[in-house]
């Protein structure tokens, strides 16, 4: 079998699975008055199509910001506008101002699902294919296996094609950025990342590693010589990209400020619902929200986030290699997810992307983490009626991840990149690391299966109505925190030996 046919089979399978998931329900289906993210996206099409650009982010009589007001950066708005033009051609009722609120029909669902698929096919999937083919090492078969698992990561599929969002676009742009940096095209990479940032402000989770990697590279080249030119080139690329994205809002500073205020709403509190991050988990023990004022909550979370990002960023700055960059991406996004202000459970997808990049290098940990990240969204998925796709895609991902990447065989200390830390971490030298990790994996999978089953089938006791969501988020938090520590440790241990040899060749 030639590689091209295996790759195309993987991509086609990825498309079928995505479309299969999209046959299911979406968030807020048939639940007036607010509906869900599906209606939000449709509403943005309606707003962007019917109102002038200046009014998109303003509260006016035609634009009630309390009803799914636009709160993503301009690229999202442009994307909605393009979709709205197509919608208008197919059926004008879909984007009619005011009258189309809460519009739902099978044909409209089909249209919305198709827009997600098209965006994915144009941006996310090509980036994944190129990344797996050019930036992972191993035989062609190994690359295809990685590609297969990367494309079938359940979390992203379930949120984009089940719940309904366009995460594939922002993550896809970020991935193009990673890809370009990996291939040495620094300006293109920074441009792609700016696009990601202008599509979804949450991409800030990835911003520090990009910044540190590029700055570190410039410093390494010598800030007095070639490094300086590189820095100027990157800076101007960033500025031009941003300027182009914000062009309609730049004529009036107050208008731009209004957009910024919409994008970063600080009034929404430390966390919403049940998120698997530090604050929500801590909330079980200490009610932070009632102890601290909202200002000090912001300061506290910002301080903690910066503290958590600092080690990996400094390490990357001093050692700007691609391997360090990938790890820093994972560390930074996890740090943001765990400690920052106003985190959504879906934000774990931002941490999942860099971990997907590590599928080839650290198969077991990556699969482990990715599975937990899908599991952390169980309450949301159940609310949207996505039980069957959740079970099916998770089982498939777990099984094929372990089978194709032979994850369970590759978990010795050397392969977990923990060789140097062995004596530091474990006082008992005879402990079999591989065995421990494997059992930990089995137990976690069992716990996740048990909690998923309990959330579906059991009725919580009346005085603890949130029992299962809290258990789910706490379990997920413990795993995320553990993975965060692990990735930091790996980042500070030496570079993988096989990898460095290959680089020299």
């Amino acid at each position: 079998m030639q590689t091209w046919s295996l790759v195309s089979l993987c991509v086609l399978l990825g498309v079928v699975v995505r479309w299969g998931v999209s046959l299911n329900s979406y968030s807020g289906a048939g639940r007036p008055p607010m509906f869900g993210d599906y209606e939000a996206q449709r509403h943005w099409q309606e707003v962007t199509y019917n109102l002038p650009v200046q009014e998109w982010y303003l509260n006016t009589t035609d634009n009630n910001l309390n009803y799914w007001g636009l709160d993503y950066p301009p690229l999202t708005a442009y994307h909605s506008l393009i979709c709205a033009y197509i919608a208008k051609i197919i059926n004008p009722e879909w984007v009619e101002l005011h009258k189309s609120r809460g519009y739902e029909s099978p044909a409209h669902k089909l249209f919305m699902r198709a827009t997600v698929l098209v965006a994915d096919l144009l941006i996310y999937i090509p980036a994944v294919v190129l990344y797996c083919l050019y930036l992972t090492d191993g035989s062609a078969k190994k690359k295809v296996s990685t590609l297969f698992c990367f494309l079938l990561y359940p979390g992203l599929i379930l949120i984009d094609y089940g719940h309904f969002q366009y995460n594939g676009v922002s993550l896809g742009f970020a991935l193009w950025g990673v890809l370009a940096l990996g291939l040495g095209w620094d300006s293109l990479g920074s441009m792609a990342f700016c696009l990601a940032l202008n599509y979804k402000q949450m991409e800030l989770y990835h911003a520090l590693p990009f910044f540190c990697y590029l700055l570190g590279k410039c410093v390494k080249l010598g800030l007095m010589g070639r490094g300086f030119f590189l820095l100027v080139r990157i800076a101007s690329t960033v500025l031009v990209t941003f300027a182009l994205c914000w062009l309609p809002f730049l004529s009036d500073p107050s208008r731009a400020l209004q957009v910024v205020r919409r994008i970063f709403p600080v009034a929404r509190g430390l966390f919403e619902d049940k998120v698997a991050n530090t604050w929500c988990s801590l909330n079980i023990l200490i009610k932070i929200r009632s102890i601290l004022s909202s200002d000090s909550q912001i300061y506290l979370s910002t301080a903690c986030t910066l503290l958590a990002v600092l080690p990996s960023s400094v390490r990357l700055l001093t050692k700007p290699t691609f391997w360090q960059f990938k790890l820093a991406l994972a560390n930074s996004s996890l740090a943001f997810f765990l400690f920052s202000y106003q985190v959504h459970e879906k934000s774990i997808l931002l941490a999942a992307l860099p971990v997907c990049l590590l599928l080839n290098d650290l198969p077991l940990v990556a699969i482990y983490f990715l599975q937990v990240s899908t599991f952390s969204m169980v309450p949301l998925l159940l609310k949207d009626g996505l039980l069957v796709p959740y079970v099916v895609t998770s089982l498939a991902f777990l099984f094929f991840g372990v089978f194709l990447l032979s994850a369970l065989e590759h978990c010795s200390e050397e392969e977990l990149r923990l060789g140097a830390y062995h004596k530091l971490l474990f006082c008992l030298p005879k402990l079999d690391m591989a065995c421990i990790v494997r059992w930990k994996f089995y137990i976690s999978v069992a716990v996740m299966a048990g909690l998923s089953f309990a959330s579906v089938a059991l009725v919580p006791p009346p005085h603890l109505p949130d029992l299962f969501p809290v258990l789910v988020s706490t379990t997920a938090f413990l795993h995320f925190f553990g993975t965060f520590l692990y990735f930091n440790v790996v980042q500070f241990s030496g570079p993988p030996s096989r990898k460095s040899q290959k680089k020299k060749n």
Binding site: M1, L9, V15, V16, G20, N24, L117, P389, V392
Partner: protein, 522 residues
């Protein structure tokens, strides 16, 4: 025997699990009226006494499968009551609560375990090539993918809704038993299959003649001709008692109740028309279109009076009788004679020159295709009876691989109109594309050689399918003809595909006859 490779079969559960999980994703997809048919049968078998099963007609979808299948539904209904009791009420027509859909879909997915087991048995019978160490290039792996991930089965069973996987499991298992020379088990399985769904009568002649010739006669003469003295009555009795007891078990109760004519009238409804709702790609599709063309020409050339012609309704979507205008109309007896004539040479060939189990398989294929080509009221889904067994031959011989590619691609494409809802369009297109890419690349690699598997003309014909597909699936629904000529895409599809199926049928015959000649020349 070559030494077995240590990890040789670990890929098989992966393939099977993968496809089973994929099937689960289609639970909420469109399902056809066959869904209601099977729900109704669950209700009938669950809530009525056996004596009423073949008399019940509250729903228009009366029980028209043989008794063993009714018992199968009876068994399923005992699980079904734990999902939703309301689906088991006969009067609950068109009932499809989420629990009902889940149960029925899962029942198909789980009974497919029989199919998965049968595929594994078939893969074990395949001759492995020496020297190919890569798993992806081993015939058994390729065969497993071609069968387990078969496009036709996926869409017919798991979107359209039927239990073909379960039934083909019996057929393939019985073929595998014959390949392993366990003829009695093979005969038992086939007898069970016939009593589950009588459409497999199509291939019964192959079974009958093969078992009589190669099992009941224990020896051949030196020149390969039949040795009459080696006839073993004991084997014939064994065979007869197996088949007889299965049939007695299935039909016995109904004979005892004096309901046999009623059951048979349900099983063989000759009141239906020559062609199904839309035409299966066979000879009659070509015959119909020829008739239509002649009528049009006749009217144009003033040879025919338009008023005198019978109103010919083409593929209106209803099952009804259809009168030809110029050419003589076809009666069931004509189709029967044509079918018998078409399978006669194949049957004669394995009688005079039995080519072992593989010769039998080839004859089975020709029977299936012959009945498909000439049969009365053939369903387009019946093409799978030829496609699935041909997969076994395709991984073993180069020539059959070429025929397989033509037949599967056209046969699978002819199933496209079954799934006509826009939401499922991407699924059927992508699954088809996957199957085509895989079968072409894998078989080409398996039979790597200087000559291409396909003749250039065959390639051109298959590429034409892409044009037909885009025209029928994308361009036509958007064009103004959609209202005026709604049946045009169906017509184009079946006529175009019938050319490919007819061609494959002829080529299979040629390959059979050529095989017959070769030993004589030696």
């Amino acid at each position: 025997m070559a030494a077995p490779v240590v990890d040789s079969w670990s890929w098989f559960p992966a393939l099977a699990l993968g496809v089973s999980l994929l099937k689960c994703l289609f639970i909420n997809a469109y399902h056809s009226t066959d869904f209601e048919v099977h729900r109704n049968w669950l209700a009938i078998t669950h809530s009525l006494p056996v004596s009423r099963w073949y008399h019940e007609n509250t729903s228009e979808w009366t029980l028209d499968y043989p008794p063993l299948f009714a018992w199968f539904e009876f068994g399923l209904s005992h699980v079904a009551q734990h999902f939703d009791r309301n689906m088991l009420l006969v009067e609950n027509l068109n009932y499809d609560s989420p629990a009902t859909v889940l149960f029925q879909r899962l029942s198909v997915i789980f009974t497919d375990l029989v199919f998965i087991f049968a595929v594994r048995e078939c893969c074990r019978c395949v001759q492995e090539q020496k020297g190919s160490r890569d798993i992806l290039n081993r015939p058994s792996f390729v065969l497993a993918v071609l069968l387990l991930w078969n496009f036709g089965l996926l869409i017919v069973d798991h979107i359209h809704f039927q239990y073909n996987g379960f039934l083909f499991g019996f057929l393939l298992l019985s073929v595998a038993k014959h390949l392993q020379s366990r003829h009695l088990q093979g005969a038992l399985l086939f007898a069970l299959l016939l009593n589950l769904k009588h459409i497999y009568l199509y291939v019964a002649p192959a079974y009958g003649i093969y078992l009589l010739r190669s099992y009941c006669f224990t020896q051949d003469n030196k020149d390969g001709s039949i040795s009459w003295r080696s006839f073993s009555p004991l084997r014939l009795i064994a065979l007869g008692s197996i088949v007889g007891s299965v049939c007695a078990l299935s039909f016995g109760p109904f004979i005892a109740m004096g309901q046999l004519p009623q059951v048979l009238s349900r099983l063989f409804p000759f009141k239906r028309g020559l062609c199904h709702a839309y035409w299966a790609p066979n000879i009659w599709a070509l015959y119909n279109i020829l008739d239509k063309v002649l009528v049009t020409l006749g009217v144009r050339l003033k040879l025919l009076q338009e008023a005198e012609l019978p109103r010919a309704s083409m593929t209106g979507g209803l099952v009804q009788e259809f009168q030809h205008s110029v050419l003589p109309s076809i009666t069931p007896s004509i189709t029967l004679v044509c079918t018998l004539l078409s399978i006669l040479p194949a049957a004669a060939s394995i009688w005079w020159r039995p080519g072992g189990a593989r010769g039998f398989l080839r004859c089975l294929l020709l029977c299936a295709l012959g009945s498909f080509m000439f049969g009365w009221h053939v369903h387009e889904k019946a093409i799978l009876i030829a496609i699935l067994p041909l997969s076994i031959l395709a991984v073993e011989s180069r020539e059959d691989a070429g025929i397989f590619l033509v037949l599967t691609t056209t046969g699978h494409y002819s199933l496209f109109p079954l799934i006509f809802t826009p939401a499922e369009l991407p699924i059927k297109a992508v699954l088809m594309l996957m199957f085509v890419i895989y079968s072409f690349t894998a078989l080409r690699k398996l039979h790597s050689g200087p000559v291409s598997l396909l003749h250039p003309l065959e390639s051109v014909y298959l590429l034409g399918l892409v044009v037909v597909a885009t025209a029928c699936e994308i361009v036509f629904p958007l064009s103004p003809w959609q209202q005026k000529l709604p049946f045009l895409p169906l017509l184009v599809t079946s006529v175009y595909c019938s050319v490919g199926v007819t061609y494959s049928f002829l080529r299979l015959y040629v390959s059979l006859l050529r095989r017959d000649e070769k030993p004589k020349q030696l």
